[in-house]
Structure formats: C-alpha cells, structure tokens
C-alpha cells in the first residue's frame, strides 16, 4: 500500500534526522533537524488521519519550539561572548 510505504520512508528519514539532531556539529543544525523531525511527524499524523494533531505538531512542535530553541542558543551565544 502506498500510505504504508510513505510512512516507512518518512519514518526512516525521521530517525536519520533524529540522529542528526543529536550528533550534528552545530547546534543550529541540530535544532533544525529536530524541527524537521517534528514536521515529518506531523505528516505521519496526517497519514494516520489526525489532522488536528498534525496542525498542532506543525505549529507547535516544529514552529514555536524551534523558535524558542533558537532564542535560547542565541541568548547563550551572547552570554558566552561577554
């Protein structure tokens, strides 16, 4: 079935991205990778017939969350410059 294949591929990418998020050299990359994992998760939710959750994940998990992460590392970077 198509859906299943899509899910499988997305799942694999998610895992790769997850490892990237952990092992990426630069924090920014790591954060973006984590955001991508969330984004892919929201696609999975769509395939699983959960549009509400998908929206939420997209808006919160990959959107806001990433923003907050960035704010945080930004802030940290500035702290260490001083």
């Amino acid at each position: 079935m198509n859906m299943t294949w899509i899910a499988l591929i997305i799942g694999l990418i998610m895992l790769i991205m997850a490892f990237a998020a952990i092992y990426a050299k630069k924090l920014a990359v790591a954060i973006i990778a984590a955001g991508v994992v969330s984004l892919l998760a929201s696609i999975l939710y769509l395939t699983l017939a959960a549009p509400d959750v998908a929206m939420t994940e997209a808006a919160i998990g990959s959107g806001l969350s990433t923003i907050i992460f960035f704010y945080a590392i930004n802030k940290i970077r500035k702290q260490s410059h001083d």
Partner: protein, 123 residues
C-alpha cells in the same frame, strides 16, 4: 499479525524515536542537546499515541458531509488519543521551554553548557 501495516510502521518509528531521544539525553553532555533529546523523546511518544488510536483505513474524526453521524462509528479513527496527544504536545512545549529557560540561566551562572560541570550538589 502483519507487521507491514501503517500503524505498525508508525508505532515502531515512534518507539525508535523514543529510544533515540533517551540516547540523546543520556549520552550528550551538552545541555541543549539533552533538551533536544527530550523533545525527540516527546515526539516519539506522540507518534506512538497516534498510532494506537488509528483504526485501519479510518478517516479523521470530523463529521461532515463525507462522514455522517449515523455511519461515523465505522469510518473514523479514535478521537481520544488525538485529543490526548494535542494536550501532550502543548505540555511538551511547556516543559521544553522551561528546560531551555533553565539552560540559559545555568549557562549564565557558570558559563558552561556541559552537564558534568553542574555537580555542586552531591551525596
């Protein structure tokens, strides 16, 4: 049982994400990466939950013209896990934000993001 089903794939993906997240939390010394690990862990959990609520070939639990009230029961997926996940996502965001705020403050205090440097309390 047949493994090659949508919900199984997603379930296992979720499970592996959870483990990956845990791995991130316990293996990375960088506080930010630990928080990233936690958010992966969280995402994995949510994927698992949604997979659990999936009904094979079901549609979204929204009644409209395609899904009418009478036949809905046979067509849609379980709305409850979705509701739970909604809540859980928001909670996860809250926790992540709080953790990050802590991380920023910790860094401010000690100028380091390495968790091994925060061992002032022990024994």
């Amino acid at each position: 049982m047949e493994i090659f089903q949508l919900e199984y794939i997603t379930l296992i993906t979720g499970g592996l994400l959870v483990l990956t997240g845990l791995w991130g939390i316990i293996s990375q010394k960088n506080l930010i990466r630990m928080v990233i690990g936690f958010s992966l862990f969280d995402t994995g959990l949510h994927v698992i939950m949604i997979s659990i609520g999936y009904i094979r070939n079901g549609t979204a639990p929204i009644l409209d013209k395609a899904v009418d009230k009478v036949n809905a029961a046979g067509q849609i997926v379980d709305p409850l896990p979705q509701a739970l996940v909604l809540t859980a996502i928001v909670i996860g965001l809250g926790v992540t934000a709080l953790m990050l705020a802590y991380v920023v403050r910790l860094h401010k205090e000690k100028g380091s993001l390495n968790i091994t440097n925060f061992k002032d309390l022990k024994w």
